[in-house]
């Protein structure tokens, strides 16, 4: 049946199987909405947050340890209460999420870049290079990610002068988490590469005379990225958790620009003296965000799996 006008690209995408599946999976829709709120709050924090928790001039020590809204002693301008320094908890959470997300996404981007490249090279080259890369991945996988991150962080602290710590802490964290996560991408991509490289379109490219690097990056790369997307989505959540753990342990971001993990750690000291909100609210924010990412990632994996379609 001929249609009068070809559907617009948006309409075509809206009607695609993926978008249809999304619209009909309530879990995915809710997770996406929650995630959008977290992302929006984090991205636009400087403009949307009711206070700036890092501007020392605006902090009022008298407002410290205010309970959240609905409890005795609450002040209306501090919706979720304040911490021991008078910082509004809601704003601190928004800025903290910002840092957590930045580290999480950047670390995953690094891990993907590293892992996918190494996986492609290992799969296509084969032989000794393949064996070497895979053994390196095996060795790395036998160390827990936290341990590797601690190691890299420790080396950085030992090597760099004290004053530089604060500035490079972010970069070191991203590096540490990213480097500890590349093996899973490398393995997946290597497996897909081994399958794809024997397919006839790759042989056709070789017959035409295309160089190996062009074959790897123009032909193979688009075809092996599928599972990577799913792994990366869930990996963002794990990266955020690792960063939170590291910050909790005291080797992550410095306390002057706290991430969610730092907030949780700082709040822990006050948990048993009655000011529970300082640790509970950042903790809840972390859990909600990670849960939303995980659920979305689960839906994506099922939606993209050709066998389940």
């Amino acid at each position: 049946m001929a249609s009068v006008a070809a559907p617009s690209r948006f309409a075509a995408w809206w009607n695609s199987d993926l978008a249809y599946s999304f619209r009909h999976a309530p879990v995915a829709v809710v997770s996406a909405v929650v995630l959008a709120i977290c992302l929006g709050g984090a991205l636009f924090a400087p403009w949307v947050a009711p206070h700036n928790p890092f501007d020392l001039a605006t902090l009022n020590l008298l407002d410290a340890l205010t309970p959240p809204h609905g409890f005795a002693g609450a002040k209306p301008e501090y919706l979720l209460g304040t911490d021991d320094q008078g910082r509004d908890l809601l704003s601190a959470i928004m800025f903290g999420t910002r840092i957590s997300l930045l580290i999480g996404v950047a670390a995953v981007a690094l891990a993907v870049a590293l892992g996918v490249s190494l996986g492609l090279v290992a799969g296509y080259a084969g032989g000794r290079l393949d064996a070497f890369i895979m053994r390196a991945a095996d060795v790395q996988l036998s160390f827990p990610a936290i341990l590797i991150a601690l190691l890299i962080d420790g080396i950085a602290r030992a090597v760099l002068p004290r004053s530089a710590h604060g500035d490079v802490a972010l970069v070191v964290l991203i590096l540490a988490i990213g480097v500890s996560n590349w093996p899973q991408y490398a393995r997946t991509v290597r497996g897909s590469t081994l399958v794809e490289k024997n397919k006839e379109y790759v042989q056709a490219a070789r017959v035409i005379g295309i160089s190996p690097s062009a074959i790897v990056f123009r032909h193979l790369l688009p075809n092996v990225l599928g599972p990577v997307l799913v792994i990366a989505t869930i990996n963002v959540a794990t990266a955020i958790l690792i960063e939170a753990t590291l910050s909790f342990l005291g080797v992550g971001v410095p306390p002057t620009r706290p991430s969610l993990g730092t907030l949780i750690r700082v709040g822990q000291d006050f948990l048993f003296s009655g000011e529970w909100w300082i640790t509970i609210f950042p903790g809840a924010a972390l859990v909600i965000m990670v849960l939303a990412i995980n659920l979305l990632g689960d839906w994506l994996r099922d939606a993209l799996n050709p066998k389940l379609r």
Binding site: K199, E200, Y201, Q203, A204, A205, R206, V207, I208, G209, I210, H219, P222, N223
Partner: protein
């Protein structure tokens, strides 16, 4: 036609062999006392393909015909022997890539031979972008050429914007043909190009290939296990068994008077519409394991005419007296087989 009058071959294979080392890893060999395993996929093949002809290569699985195809286009390098194009060697590493551009390949699987993430126009334009010549430099000239190629293979120029999964198997093979023709090759290696297609689609593609050959003066090496297709399209045929050529002749004489016992058995085995009902002898046995081929003539365990010499000595491909066929068979050479009437 005596050898002196024959036109010089376009593509020549001289005593070409390809051996694959499929041994288990060294540690396994040590611990499990396994031996090295060598797969002689191609074991001394001589071919001469003349410009403008369609040369058919037939055989069953494991005979080495696909390996021969890949040796010619350079996907493998031969372990032994020479491959020549227009008289010049092309089998050495880095030898004349410009010469290699005169040959292209069409593959069997229409679903795996096109990159599923690329648009059809990019797929066809790839050889042009890799080796631009005066005609196809510049975006508009490139687009025009891709459109012309699509129309030449029976599709529409607008199909270039689509992705491979939007086409049927036969249409994808046409796209493969268009890609192969983009660089204006003189020689096409076709590895079972219609084996994965339905019969009516196969007819379309074979007719297309025939007309393109006439139009563009192409030379084909047509590899197939389907004897009827080869009979229809090839001018000369070579039959392979376990890495060697057992018989080589022009098409009509080969099918009318097959001489080698394997060729006879193969032709007997093909169920044919015209011949249904005639009594046929079923073929005995199966193709032996290529890792452990029988000594002497590889066909002797299944051959009703095998004698002691067949079990010891590998027969060489020799011309049959009084005919244009070459056969590698002791029984034929010794006159032990009565010619089929």
């Amino acid at each position: 036609m005596s050898p002196a009058d024959a036109p010089p071959p376009l593509v020549e294979l001289v005593n070409v062999a390809k051996t694959f080392d499929v041994s288990p890893p060294w540690l396994n060999r040590l611990l499990e006392h396994k031996r090295r395993a060598l797969l002689r996929a191609v074991n001394g093949v001589d071919l001469a393909i003349v410009r403008g002809e369609t040369f058919g290569l037939v055989g069953e699985s494991g005979c080495g015909k696909s390996t021969v195809a890949r040796l010619i286009v350079g996907l493998y390098r031969p372990t032994r022997g020479e491959i020549r194009y227009e008289g010049k060697r092309i089998d050495r590493a880095g030898a004349a890539p410009a010469l290699r551009r005169n040959m292209q390949m069409i593959f069997q699987d229409p679903y795996a031979s096109l990159n599923p993430r690329w648009r059809v126009s990019d797929i066809i334009a790839e050889p042009l972008r890799a080796h631009p010549d005066q005609v196809s430099a510049g975006r508009h000239a490139l687009e025009a050429r891709v459109g012309a190629l699509l129309e030449q293979v029976g599709l529409a120029a607008a199909d270039g914007a689509k992705y491979p999964h939007q086409f049927s198997g036969g249409q994808r093979q046409r796209i493969s043909i268009a890609r192969a023709l983009a660089g204006k090759p003189a020689f096409l290696v076709c590895d079972e190009p219609t084996s994965a297609l339905d019969v009516s689609v196969q007819a379309q593609v074979l007719n297309l290939m025939r007309s393109l050959q006439r139009e563009l003066g192409l030379t084909f090496l047509f590899i197939s296990h389907n004897l009827a297709v080869v009979h229809h399209i090839a001018d000369r045929v070579a039959v392979m068994y376990l890495g060697r050529i057992v018989e080589r002749a022009p098409t009509k004489p080969l099918f009318a008077r097959p001489r080698h016992p394997y060729t006879r058995m193969l032709l007997d085995a093909v169920p044919d519409l015209e011949l249904s009902g005639k009594s046929r002898t079923a073929v005995a046995g199966e193709v032996p394991n290529p890792l452990a081929p029988p000594p002497g003539c590889a066909f002797h365990p299944r051959c009703p005419h095998a004698n002691e010499r067949c079990r010891r000595e590998v027969p060489r491909l020799k011309p049959v007296t009084g005919a244009v066929a070459d056969v590698a068979c002791h029984a034929v050479e010794e006159g032990r087989i009565a010619n089929r009437l």
